[in-house]
């Protein structure tokens, strides 16, 4: 399980936790997060803004 960070606002997406508020189940790998998912804090898109692998 990896974590990905939004480089614009610092929000962390943790694959282990997923993002249940948006229907993304715990354990969802980053590549399986829908392409139209947006950073919940700053609104940048998944592909538009590089998320960096932090571990």
């Amino acid at each position: 399980m990896k974590k990905w960070q939004c480089v614009v606002c610092g929000l962390i997406y943790d694959e282990a936790e997923g993002w249940p508020e948006d229907g993304i189940e715990p354990g969802t790998k980053w590549e399986d997060v829908p392409e139209d998912w947006e950073c919940p804090d700053c609104g940048v898109g998944k592909e538009d803004f590089e998320m960096i692998e932090i571990g």
Partner: protein
């Protein structure tokens, strides 16, 4: 002739680069020239208040060099170029003794920090942090230091206080208000954030102001109006931002609190647009990332041929005080409702309710901060 002229974007902050990126998603070819007064390094301004927490210095917070951005976005970049005027009739941007012809001009040059006029000879130890170059200078000046005084207890002052404590610096915060983040947080939420900041060692000096800043040893002595004296290595000034309007004003663009634009980001002069911290969009001056991203997307469509109005949704703001996670969605100024507050220790759930029970805004701290997503869905969007 202006048909072949480039789209010119002034400013390479988050607004300028986000716009260029959005345009390139729709149009790979139209020439784009970006003009910046600084070095053009790409970075995210909200991350400047997270450097110590994340163990990053100015280089660590830089995301891409100007050359990398030019190549990645297929744009021409002019760094260290200061705009001195706009000749709207000729469609020319004036850069000192040079002129640059534009087809469309986008002003994304941000906001200026407010600087207080304070007595004493220590002004060279007072730092405002409004961009990456400012941050670099601040970190350089802080090397070997231990103690920082922060003027201002707003969002930026509180975020820097938390971040500097995470970097193990001693922190004193001085502000005239009787609570942190006045105007942004209701009293209970502000109290919770202050309490948690105090718990990690931040010292607050509220309801007073800085009278003098004088050199003392290698640092400064800060004298407060209430008689206290604080010795610090340097002072961070975080007393607010003001959208940059002066050149727009002298060009004859309509200005208010910012450069006045409609929901299509059009100024009062043809072919000139404004975006981000310098813009007053349909009456709203919102110096946050979410509105500027929404604006950049709409404007990219407009500039590539499909006039598009931005639609602001609910605009919650996350406050980066890790010691007390906080999310706020301020209610409209004239909403006429009232706060309903639940509190457990430093966890506060404050909901701003209209008389008929509609949630119009909220402030969440501590363990309630995670409810931001769900509550944002209840609050009506700014542009309904």
């Amino acid at each position: 002739m202006t048909e072949q002229a480039p789209i010119v974007i002034v400013g390479t902050g988050l607004s300028g680069y986000s716009l260029a990126r959005e345009i390139r998603k729709l149009d790979k070819e139209t020439p784009i020239v970006m003009v910046t007064a600084d070095d053009g390094v790409s970075y995210s301004k909200p991350m400047l208040s997270t450097g110590f927490t994340k163990g990053k210095d100015a280089d660590g917070l830089a995301q891409a060099s100007v050359d990398a951005m030019a190549e990645q976005l297929n744009i021409e970049l002019r760094t260290f170029s200061t705009v001195t005027g706009i000749d709207a009739d000729a469609h020319e941007l004036v850069l000192g003794d040079q002129r640059l012809t534009y087809s469309k001009l986008v002003l994304a040059w941000g906001a200026d920090v407010i600087r207080l006029s304070i007595a004493g000879d220590g002004q060279d130890r007072v730092f405002s942090i409004n961009d990456l170059m400012d941050y670099r200078a601040f970190r350089l000046a802080l090397e070997g230091g231990k103690r920082v005084a922060i003027m201002g207890a707003g969002l930026i002052g509180c975020e820097f206080a938390n971040d500097l404590r995470n970097g193990d610096y001693e922190v004193d915060v001085i502000a005239p208000s009787d609570a942190v983040m006045p105007g942004l947080l209701p009293a209970e939420a502000a109290g919770a954030v202050q309490q948690e900041l105090e718990a990690i060692g931040v010292r607050f000096h509220l309801e007073t102001v800085v009278d003098r800043i004088d050199h003392q040893g290698g640092g400064v002595r800060v004298a407060l109006a209430n008689g206290e004296q604080i010795d610090a290595d340097l002072v961070v000034s975080a007393v607010g931002l003001r959208p940059r309007v002066s050149i727009a004003e002298s060009t004859g663009l309509k200005t208010g609190r910012g450069i006045v634009v409609n929901r299509a980001l059009e100024t009062s002069v043809a072919d000139i647009y404004a975006l981000g911290d310098c813009a007053e969009v349909d009456g709203h001056v919102l110096l946050y990332v979410l509105p500027l991203m929404a604006s950049a997307r709409a404007l990219a469509k407009t500039l590539t041929g499909e006039r598009t109005e931005v639609s602001y949704g609910t605009m919650p703001v996350m406050i980066k005080t890790p010691c007390c996670p906080t999310a706020v969605c301020p209610p409209p100024a004239d909403a006429g409702g009232e706060w309903q507050v639940e509190q457990e220790g430093s966890s506060v759930r404050a909901l701003y309710k209209s008389s008929d029970g509609q949630t119009l805004g909220f402030a969440l701290t501590g363990s309630y901060a995670v409810e931001k997503q769900a509550l944002s869905k209840e609050v009506p969007p700014i542009h309904g």
